[in-house]
Amino acid sequence: MDNYTCKGKKDTRSGFGEGLLELGKTNNNVVALCADLTGSLKMDAFKNEFPERFFQVGIAEANMMCISAGLTIGGKIPIAGTFANFATGRVYDQIRQSIAYSNKDVKICASHAGITLGEDGATHQILEDIGMMKMLPNMTVINTCDFNQTKAATIAIADYESPVYLRFGRPKVPNFTPENQKFEIGKALKLTEGNDVTIFSTGHLVWESLEAAKILNEVGITAEIINIHTIKPLDTEAVIHSVNKTGCVVTAEEHQINGGMGESIAGVLSQNTPKPIEMVGVNNKFGKSGKPDELMKEFGLDRNSIVIAAKKVIKRKEKLLVI
């Protein structure tokens, strides 16, 4: 199998910060807004370099989303950054009416998504944001997996005419995708070839899926790992193509199973080529305080959970073949 090596640990939000700075240099229409979390979002470099294009909105996320919508009128490309919790649930109606329905070219960039936010606990650990955002017509939904991919995605969304929700996280995680990659919105990335099971994963679970594939390989199971960085629009062709080969599926994401990427994939498959699916995600629970690694283990979002799900789904597939 292909080998992805960890080139050190870095946080995805820093990838966003670097991408944003680069956008500032290359595109004069890019403006950035933040709601009192500039440091946490790694937006300081942009703010210092381009103060006239940076808007500190204060703790007023609703105002920030609608100011962003207004900035597009006049040709600006607003990058609105805050924690994923405050970038979605808190401002759903503002996004729905002034951004998605009005089809404004606003880029909602959301850090600290999921339980890996850690110690702050469930009030801040949003696990429903992908669902909320993917339901909105016109909205593009992206969840990146490492520093390099987040940087590339940040640069790519500026030229992509659509409201975008870009989701990333807080902790330092393995950086393993290529530096200076070209990020293709809506195109699934096949990371490993396999024949026995397809593992579709997004965000922080992509690295865990690669590690799971290694463990599975030791017992003779080859897993095809596909990174779904763009949850909407979903690369249905890639999904169907892989599953027609492997015949069973595991989905893995740091999000509620309800409304997550797994449901999107299940929807496509059930209408095209129904196959057994196991979903790794948070099962109808709120998060809680703890260290990111501890929480991922406790909530069943680690490599071991993926291995168990893969073995289970392969058994289900084999059962069907016997019948």
Partner: protein
């Protein structure tokens, strides 16, 4: 004075349009729309520097208008049509299937004049601030206007926007509050009192002007004052007193007419209050 006469002829026709549109759809919001017809007429036919025949979404080089209280769509659509943004006959499609004239304003069907959807209240002032900031970045000296309802001021986001605009000297922006003191459930005083509006906006750092929105003389006196007050480091707001249902005796000042269509008898009575000055659609 002939100017006021001309404006009155236009606003009289707009009021006829509003009644016919709401009656035709058997739904809509006649009260606030009738109350604001004079303001819309004055703004679009006298003050707003914009080209109705070449509507551009980016609005560069033009004054912009945002309707935050989107339920006043009937008066806006009629004004836009009468000004030449789209054919007057399209007003007959108001709120009907396949219409660009959605119940609340929408950009979905490319209706000239509309730059953002509104209806869910409290968002328009923030959008207008964004557009104002965009103008500043573009060195575009044109102004941004935003109409809000008075009941809408109960939405918290308005005050987020108010605080932001003053703190950041958004001084190319003129807010207008339709102060008819009526909302769906009753008078604003009965629902949640707005208190002293002037004092509130002044405390938030805005320059406050007052205007009788049903008196053209006052309107064409106060709006220029507001325009002169722009670019002086402070956002400007006009507290505009209007009567809900203005011009129709049995609707005037009655919150019941916020969002209800007249029946046939009521319609006949109401429409007879306004002469057909410019030809019905």
């Amino acid at each position: 004075m002939s100017e006021i006469k001309e404006l009155k002829r236009t606003s009289t026709q707009i009021r006829r349009d509003i009644l016919r549109m709401v009656y035709g759809a058997q739904s809509g919001h006649p009260g606030g729309a009738l109350g604001c017809a004079d303001f819309f007429t004055a703004l679009y036919f006298k003050f707003l520097r914009a080209n109705p025949s070449k509507f551009k979404m980016d609005g560069i080089g033009e004054d912009l208008f945002f309707l935050s209280n989107g339920h006043l769509s009937a008066v806006w659509y009629s004004t836009l049509a009468r000004k030449g943004y789209f054919p007057v006959k399209e007003l007959s499609t108001f709120r009907k299937i396949e219409s660009r004239l959605q119940g609340h304003p929408s950009t979905e069907y490319n209706l000239p004049g509309v730059r953002v959807a509104s209806g869910s209240l409290g968002q328009g002032l923030s959008v207008a601030i964004g557009a104002s900031l965009s103008k500043k970045l573009n060195n575009d000296p044109h102004l941004v206007y935003c109409l809000m309802g008075d009941g809408e001021l109960q939405e918290g986001q308005i005050w987020e926007a108010a605080m932001y605009a003053a703190a950041n000297n958004v001084d190319n922006l003129i807010g207008i509050i339709d102060y008819n003191n009526q909302q769906i459930d009753g008078s604003c005083d009965d629902v949640v009192s707005l208190g002293d509006l002037r004092a509130k906006w002044e405390a938030f750092g805005w320059l406050v002007l007052e205007m009788d929105g049903n008196d053209f003389e006052d309107i064409i006196n106060v709006i220029p004052k507001a325009i002169e007050s722009t670019n002086k480091k402070k956002p400007v707001v006009i507290v505009m007193k209007t009567d809900m249902g203005y011009g129709v005796d049995f609707m005037m000042g009655k919150h019941e007419w916020h969002g209800k269509a007249p029946n046939e008898e009521q319609f006949e009575k109401a429409i007879s209050c306004f002469e057909e000055t410019l030809g019905d659609y």
